[in-house]
């Protein structure tokens, strides 16, 4: 199964600010791309655009599924899902009820057992019947990962999935991402070390432009950090 996204000269304008400017790139099957950029540099916008949640002001996005161009939004959406810093799950439902609802909504047929095995994969089987609001932030994010994985997506859109997690929680979620998931993703993050470790492609955004689009093999971590420092303001790098 191949799933490719072609971005062609994308402009996106919000109010009077330019979120994205002339972004052209291709996301190929299995690309694990880490995106860094200063605040408001259009990283989340890019994820929203890729997820077909919003339309570009100018330019086109083209999706290719198994070599044929897909037009139908529903069909495209089945191949992607999003995991962001907000879990996108209902606080008043249990983990199991949440997953059941979204499985139904996304047209994934899962019986009781299926939901259980998905919860087991993220190590949350025991907490399946606790209310989502009673779960810790780390647990919530793991359940949210199970939600994102419901449709077995070919491309994961990760919008700062680690924010608000402690070190242990981050490690755990990262491990799950690296072991349980085999396809590509777009990861927006502030943590350069993590971003570099998890990626096989590195994107650096500056003022809404895709300033650098590099393969991981082209540069080592030190070079990456210095490249980021050259492009990004200090407050992003902390």
């Amino acid at each position: 199964m191949s799933f490719e996204v072609h971005l062609d000269k994308i402009d996106k304008v919000y109010g009077e600010t330019w979120a994205l400017k002339g972004v052209s790139a291709t996301i190929q099957t299995g690309d694990r791309i880490t995106i860094v950029g200063h605040n408001g540099a259009g990283k989340s916008t890019l994820l929203g655009l890729t997820a077909t949640l919003t339309n570009p002001t100018r330019g086109t996005i083209c999706y290719e599924i198994d070599g044929t161009v897909a037009k139908d939004r529903g069909q495209i959406r089945r191949h992607m899902s999003m995991l962001s810093h907000s879990p996108m799950l209902y606080a008043d439902l249990t983990a199991r009820e949440n997953l059941k609802f979204f499985a139904g909504l996304y047209g994934v047929s899962t019986d009781h057992h299926g939901i259980d095995s998905r919860l087991e994969k993220v190590g949350m089987k025991a907490a399946g019947d606790t209310l989502f609001r009673a779960c810790s932030r780390g647990m919530q994010q793991r359940i949210s990962f199970a939600r994102a994985m419901l449709g077995d997506p070919d491309l994961l859109l990760l919008d700062e999935p680690f924010s608000g997690l402690d070190k242990k929680g981050t490690e755990r979620l990262k491990n799950i991402l690296m072991t349980e998931y085999r396809h590509g993703w777009l990861l927006v993050t502030h943590d350069l070390g993590q971003g570099y470790e998890m990626a096989n492609r590195l994107w650096i955004f500056k003022h809404g432009r895709l300033a650098h689009n590099l393969k991981k093999s082209e540069l080592d971590f030190k070079e990456y950090v210095s490249l980021c420092e050259a492009n990004l303001p200090e407050e992003v790098l902390r």
Partner: protein, 220 residues
């Protein structure tokens, strides 16, 4: 499609049973409204007993607005609505599902309100209850059909809580006029067929409008 509606309905009902958000915001609020209503009526020497229908619809209009706003806020919490927006589903069907869930919640709320109104206004509902149901249900359906759209529209503005009633209530005036008439007649033991016909037409128009335009609201 029935699947999707059932799914949304069971989710919203379960959420409601746990959080009691709509119950608190709508039903208890209506109770307070009824008290105010009593004192406002009697202090101006209006026969309070003659106003059960008025009180019913004022409660529905006000608490319905609050309830709709509340349920949508709950969707926005944790960005759940974003997950709904990304669902690979026909937006029109999503609208119908959301509408069905909202309408069911508000209908249950108003059915709970009916005995209370009968009690406060010394009304003998027994024989006329069945005659009231069509007007009430259709009226609420129309109210919610528009509300399901306007609540999303106003949620994207900076002052959603204020703007929602301002844009919602004028749009549902035709529904309210027809609904008020239907239930008033029903309380007198008649059925207003014209009123029910009008309500049916309005519902049809609202639902098709929502079916066609909801796609444009499910964007960022």
């Amino acid at each position: 499609m029935p699947n999707l509606i059932l799914l949304m309905l069971s989710k919203d009902l379960r959420r409601e049973l746990r959080s009691k958000e709509v119950f608190l915001s709508s039903f208890l609020f209506s109770l307070i409204l009824l008290c105010i209503f009593y004192y406002a009526a009697t202090s101006s020497s209006v026969a309070f007993e003659k106003l059960p229908n008025t009180a019913l619809w004022i409660c529905i209009a006000f608490s319905g607005t609050i309830g709709l706003h509340r349920t949508h806020q709950a969707e926005l919490q944790n960005a759940c609505y974003k997950a709904l927006m990304m669902a690979p589903r026909d937006p029109g069907l999503l609208f119908l599902a959301k509408f069905a869930a909202n309408a069911t919640l508000l209908t249950i709320m108003s059915l709970l309100l009916l005995p209370l109104i009968a009690l406060f206004f010394n009304l003998d509902l027994g024989s006329n209850l069945l005659k009231m149901i069509p007007g009430l249900v259709l009226g609420i359906a129309g109210f919610v059909a528009i509300g399901t759209l306007t609540v999303v529209i106003s949620a994207n503005t900076r002052i959603s809580d204020i703007l929602f009633p301002i844009i919602h209530l004028p749009l549902v005036v035709p529904v309210l006029i027809a609904g008020v008439n239907c239930t008033q007649k029903a309380m007198l033991g008649e059925i207003s067929w014209t009123g029910i016909q009008i309500l049916c037409v309005l519902n049809l128009v609202f639902l098709s409008l929502g079916f066609m335009t909801y796609a444009y609201l499910l964007e960022e």
